[in-house]
Subunit: 494 residues, 2 copies
Amino acid sequence: MPINAAGRMIPSTLQQDTFIPFGGAHKYQYTSKITELETALQKCGLKNGDTLSFHHQLRNGDYVVNQTIATVHNLGVKNLRIAQTAFFNVHEPIIEYIKNGVITRIEGSINGTVGDYISNNPLPFPVILRSHGGRWSAVKRDELHINIAIIAASTADERGNATGVIGANAFGPISYSQIDAMHADHVIIVTDTISDYPLRFQDIQERYVDYVAHVDKIGDPKNIMSGTTKITEDPMKLQIAHDCVDLMDAAGIIKDGMIFQSGAGGISLAAMKFLDERLEEKNVVASTATGGLTKLICDIYQAGRVKNIYYSQVFDEYSVKFIQNDLGLPADIGHYADPTSKGRTIDGLDTVVLGATEVDTSFNVNVNTHSDGRMLHGIGGHQDTAAGSSLCIITCPVYRKENPIVREHVTTISTPGDVVDAIVTNEGIAINPNRQDLLKKVKGNINLTSIETLKNRAYEATGRPKELELTDTIVGMTKWFDGTVLDVIRQVKR
Amino acid sequence: MPINAAGRMIPSTLQQDTFIPFGGAHKYQYTSKITELETALQKCGLKNGDTLSFHHQLRNGDYVVNQTIATVHNLGVKNLRIAQTAFFNVHEPIIEYIKNGVITRIEGSINGTVGDYISNNPLPFPVILRSHGGRWSAVKRDELHINIAIIAASTADERGNATGVIGANAFGPISYSQIDAMHADHVIIVTDTISDYPLRFQDIQERYVDYVAHVDKIGDPKNIMSGTTKITEDPMKLQIAHDCVDLMDAAGIIKDGMIFQSGAGGISLAAMKFLDERLEEKNVVASTATGGLTKLICDIYQAGRVKNIYYSQVFDEYSVKFIQNDLGLPADIGHYADPTSKGRTIDGLDTVVLGATEVDTSFNVNVNTHSDGRMLHGIGGHQDTAAGSSLCIITCPVYRKENPIVREHVTTISTPGDVVDAIVTNEGIAINPNRQDLLKKVKGNINLTSIETLKNRAYEATGRPKELELTDTIVGMTKWFDGTVLDVIRQVKR
């Protein structure tokens, strides 16, 4: 029997088990993790070919992605894979870093400018588009392995506890990065505000953090709050929103204890406003609103017409103040939408109202590409909430200008028709024929049409969709949240 | 190229990566997870040889362990390994289940009756004793694989969100079981109180939970709160406690921003009381108290003499009310003490005051066995806080009745001398000679003696320790929190 460092005789094996003798103990101390961004990247062993991840919660006001990639460039490192949750127009400098080989792969949403560029100038490997829940699970299952997670925080303490809830550039709780923090080889918090230990809000805890990079500014507060929180004033869209609530009512889901998803798009917000009015009219108290938080939802809560709020994102200043006062329950993306978990907050959704760039006669929805084939948007929570809700409502006009929106085949499948229950348009409501139960329920209470009729109406008004001429090159892929490939996005011939 | 379930052509491989085509989507719904304990165990596939885990936060009022093992017995399942965080006297029925072969292995603290029994009637495999942090890391590293985690909660909702903070039998936040919930094959919440979804306190979230077993009573509230929160009235112990604070003062750590551990043992509590008086006297504001919460610490906080509280356990009714009002910061055992993490709350501890059943001239500490060789106590946070603190103070009398407490070799090493800085006894203070820096600092400010002198004093008063006659059978093992074996506990000859 070996003698261990404490002088005791220890068996090496016993029955089937083996034992390692104690080799000595030492004191554990913490040293401040605060450093420069460049130093942090170097200490995390940044090298060619690494995967770096980011969250998108600073939205179009984000300075962190551009600062980080500029630093990587200065360090002479190339061939990165970027695993952001989303890019916005503010990330246009990414295009230069693609041109000079700093970035060669992207797995994450690419909204706007960067998406447009890549659509015409494909990367050596297709962009992988995933839903919120799909990305969480891809990191968890190590399908998407992250070398260095870069996590923007509006405040952090010197040991690495970090939040987005307080600070000059508060953007709401960090919700996307917990899984990166748990699974990445290295974790860097990037913040412009250091507070005393221990930070009261700990969206990310010190146990996961290697370094805290202290920068001048994480973003431009004017553009951090999304500005998508204005209710539409377009009469057509207001009508669609109103019809959504009539459909919910006809389906019998506007009742005590209902659970609904609150989005921040124009029609979704209007639908929430009309839903609120209906709750009041019917004297109904909902159980829970999930998803993104806006003043509208805070007001519904404070008026007592919904008992609980689960928030994963926060979209306006008012809502930031709301959660700073410990109101509502935070739900990180794993709690909200991880498909590999034993239960997600969205699995109880009675209804969700979602948008579309196109829908087809199989009820497939496209939110990623325009009808000209350009890849301009992410999936977000579209797939997740569609699958989690009992009544998934897609809203869109039947056509836009010369372009049929309801069509035979969507350009790209973002969410499969299997989980879409109804399409509400400016020319009527179509229910997915797979949902005979729903059809039976609403028939007689509300006017219905068929998806074929809507498609025909679109084709009559605009002609058939223009056939896209495609190359063999795959620009991007949409994945279903279980990791399988839903569709490919091919380059359009110029 | 195969065509996927959405009718799209998908490449099977691209560069080095392989892709699985989408196979179809379905709606996700939740169904209530509430069931009977027996049904839950059956549905989790309970079988011979399984490992079942429990937390100890209902302490000597716990009904959950006994109920569960009785149910296992009724189901005819045998040969279990139990991985509780701790047993108390209330768990005496375990002895019967050991005798009839339901339980054949134990990895966890066995306080009192069960420990006494096993000391004389060894199991086929030694009991493995780990610290709080060591157990967390053993589960995380899969050294201790759990088949079914049984998690007692004072309130849960039907989807499995669970807490110990509210409800008739509230015991404080569930802090030990998060790692079990994340790594066990199956997870059962056991509760006597079901509340509306979503539960406001979510110590364990629905994403980890398979079933919610609804039982009549999880415990006896009279015995859930430990009763260890009385400050000692023994003049000798009060003197030791006072000397601890003098030592802290001499070491220069009683200053603005200090971080200290708050325990619930008699001497530790008294030391906290004297520390509080010293804080006031010196007009010092501490940064943070970590560990177990008692009214005393709440009072220090509310008087403004410590700015923050991190609590992992809650020891009295007053403190339960305190945290129900969102005061203080919860720290689960991973945040508090996981040695495999990138930072623990205890790594910043300036000081901790801990007890001992024996100490030796190498500053090794025994808290697990009595000098007669019986295994009667767990390690708790002893190792963790000793290693995490800058000044780890061990308190004990030099001898008890005929038994020398300070001695040449402790019966069992629970915490190695490498991380012990000072022994404060009723006959003087000894500083670990490894800590020359500390010795230099305190010399002249406080009277010191040597550990040899204390041992000699003990031997003069009592004679040398009686040599134990041991068999070859190993009854238990103490592990250092990195998973290595610190010591073995052998059966004493009758």
